[in-house]
C-alpha cells in the first residue's frame, strides 16, 4: 500500500496540490462550500421530518436535492484532489473511514426518508412514529461526519510516505 501512496505522491497532480500556493486553498474552499450545501440540505430534511417547520410540505423539500447533489459532486471531486495531495495522511487514518461511514449513512437515510416519507406526506397522511427517530439519527450522523472531517487534521499519523 505504501508503494501506491509513494507513486501517487510523485505524480505531477499530487505535487501541484501540495506545492502551488493557491491550489490547496481553492480546493479546500470548494470542499467547504460543497459540504455546507450537502450537509445543510440533509440537516434541513432531517429537521423537517423531526417536526420542525411542520407547515412546510415535506415532499417539496425534494427541491433542495439538486443542491445536495451538486454539493455531493463537488465534495467528492474536491475530496479526491485533497486525497491526491496527501494520500497516506487520509488513507492510514481510521477517522477518514469513519467520516465516510457517517456521511454515507446520513445520505442513505435522506434517500430512505425521501422514498418512504415523502409519498406519505404527499397523501396528507401522518408519518410513522419511527420517522422522527430516523430523522434524528440522520441529523446526528451529519454532525458526526462533519466532526470526523474536522478531526482528520489532528489525528493523522503519517503525512507523506516520501519526504516532503
Amino acid at each position: 500500500m505504501m508503494d501506491v501512496f509513494r507513486w501517487i505522491e510523485q505524480t505531477p497532480l499530487s505535487v501541484f496540490m501540495r506545492e502551488d500556493f493557491y491550489a490547496y486553498f481553492v480546493v479546500l474552499i470548494f470542499h467547504a462550500w460543497a459540504m455546507a450545501f450537502l450537509v445543510g440540505g440533509g440537516m434541513a430534511v432531517s429537521l423537517r421530518v423531526m417536526g420542525v417547520a411542520a407547515g412546510a410540505r415535506l415532499e417539496k423539500f425534494a427541491g433542495f436535492f439538486p443542491f445536495m447533489w451538486i454539493g455531493a459532486f463537488m465534495a467528492i471531486l474536491s475530496g479526491l484532489l485533497l486525497l491526491v495531495g496527501y494520500p497516506a495522511k487520509a488513507l492510514t487514518n481510521w477517522v477518514f473511514a469513519l467520516k465516510f461511514a457517517c456521511l454515507g449513512s446520513a445520505a442513505l437515510l435522506v434517500r430512505y426518508m425521501a422514498r418512504t416519507y415523502f409519498p406519505i406526506a404527499a397523501r396528507n397522511e401522518p408519518l410513522p412514529r419511527s420517522a422522527r427517530w430516523i430523522a434524528c439519527a440522520c441529523f446526528l450522523l451529519w454532525i458526526a461526519g462533519v466532526t470526523a472531517g474536522k478531526m482528520l487534521l489532528h489525528t493523522y499519523k503519517i503525512l507523506m510516505v516520501t519526504s516532503p
Binding site: 479546500l28 455546507a36 445543510g40 429537521l47 411542520a54 466532526t147
Partner: protein, 173 residues
Amino acid sequence: MMLQPSAPPGWLLDFGQWGVDVGIYDLMNTRWGWPIGESVHFTGLCMLMATVGMFDLRMMGLVRELSLSALHKLVPYGVFGWLLCVASGFLFVAAAPLEYIYNDAWQIKMVLMAIAGVNMVVFYMTTAKRVYALGPDEVVPLTARIIAVVSLSSWLGVITCGRVVTAFRPFWE
C-alpha cells in the same frame, strides 16, 4: 482593513493575557480543545446553511412550492448554529489573538458577518411581512430575492474566509 502595526499593541497583549488568566488558552491547547472547537464551529455553519441557507434558496426562487412562512420556522435553529459559531470563534480568538485580529481573512470574515447581519435587519424591516403572506406558489418580490442573494453570498464568503485564515497569519517582529 485594519493596518497591522510592527509590534502587537498593548490592548492585544492584554486581551491575550486575559485569555490565559481565565483558562481559555489552556483549554484550547489541550489535546482535543482546538479540534472540538473546530467541529462545533463547522457544525454551527452547517446548521446555518441548513436553515438560513435553504430559506435563502427558496427566497431566491431556486426552490419552489414551499411556504416561506412555514420554512421560516427553521431559522431559530440557524440562530442556534450561529451562536455555536460565535462561542467557538470567540474561544479561538481569545486563545490566539495575535493570529486573528490583524489577519486580513479574519477581518473580511467579520465584515461579511456584519453585512449578513445588516441584511437580515433590512429583511425584517422591509419585506418579511410581504414574504410571509405569499402562498407556496407565488413569486417572491425582487427586493426579497436580492436580500436572499446578499445573505447566501455573505455566508459563503464567511466560509471562504474561514478556510483561508491560516494562509493570512500576520507576521510579528
